[in-house]
Amino acid sequence: CTSLVAEDKSGKLYHARNLDFGLFLGWDVKNNSWMVTELLRPLVVNVNFQRNNKTVFLSTSFVGYVGMLTGMKPGVFTLTMNERFSIDGGYLGILEWILGKRSGAWMSFLTRSVLENATSYDEAKTLLSKTKMLAPAYFILGGNKSGEACVITRSRESCLDIWELDIKQGRWYVLETNYDHWKEPLFIDNRRAPGMKCMNKTTQENISFATIYDVLSTKPVLNKLTTYTALMAVSDAKLEAYLRDCPDPCIPW
């Protein structure tokens, strides 16, 4: 996955992502594609969750999956999560859960609960950084005020790092793939450098849905695992999602 939050010159925040899923889950030799990724695309839906006929939050999701990977509380915050691989992974959390140690939260239920119940950027940030979890993860969170965006790097037990937007230091966007931002990505899976190169080339003056979509359409940020691209602008309560394809030549991940 690739997620980013960027702030334009007027202080407006944009949050976008490519959702990549299905690595090693069956390669279709005939069509040069991942089988599960192909089957996931028709299941992508945008959902408006309502209570008393009023929107509580918006989400791009997969039918049958009750947790959330991409969502927005209009006017309040935006949230995406990226997978964080670790030996101390979710399978250990599941094992602990089965054995009765149930103090951790399931990742996608936590994000759903945050989207449903948190009422501010700060509250969402606290919940995502402090709740014990069954699996490690990256949470990419955007607010509705200038400077409100961060990447929260989580292990199962604790928050390892919070990487924040810092306009004064010239950090007008944060971009996260599936590696700790202070370490080099795996050399055969470097989507971070091409993504950052395109963001830098775009410049803060020109950031918009259109230019962010361009960044997320550039290979290998766009790859054979990309199921959808979602674009969010919290101040406009605007969420757009598009199904993606990556015709050859295209890296499988």
């Binding site: 069956g26 959902v47 039918v63 990742m107 290979k219």
Partner: protein, 123 residues
């Protein structure tokens, strides 16, 4: 051309929005989910519209599992043992999963597996 060599790194794209062309597969439909409804009922409309696609995905995952464990033991565990977890999951999500299983006709264990895929695959 350099971009044709793995990892197929392109020059930064421009002019791709509004989406069209070969990298665009289609728009994403909108649905409403009413949180005032009982959790069991919330996903009925969506599941009824996408039952065939959901079943195809789950079947494909089962086929993959069968190719790794041809005895079918893994699927047996998913179908018979995973539903035992349902009572331990946060209440509304457990009920929603039961509703999805009932509406789609899929075994509850397979719906649970789909919902905990993230935890399973983070290694």
């Amino acid at each position: 051309r350099a971009q044709d060599v793995p990892p197929y790194t392109e020059d930064c794209r421009s002019g791709t929005y509004p989406p069209s062309g070969q990298t665009f597969r289609g728009t994403v439909p909108w649905y409403k989910v009413n949180l005032d409804q009982a959790p069991h009922e919330r996903w009925q409309q969506l599941i009824s519209d996408k039952k065939i696609q959901l079943t195809a995905l789950i079947q494909s995952i089962k086929n993959l599992a069968k190719s790794i464990f041809p005895s079918g033991k893994l699927i047996e565990i998913v179908d018979n043992d995973l539903p035992l977890l349902i009572g331990t999951l946060p209440a509304q999500y457990g009920e929603e999963m039961k509703g999805i299983a009932d509406a789609s006709g899929l075994p509850l264990g397979e719906v649970i597996l789909f919902n905990i895929f993230y935890e399973v695959f983070t290694v």
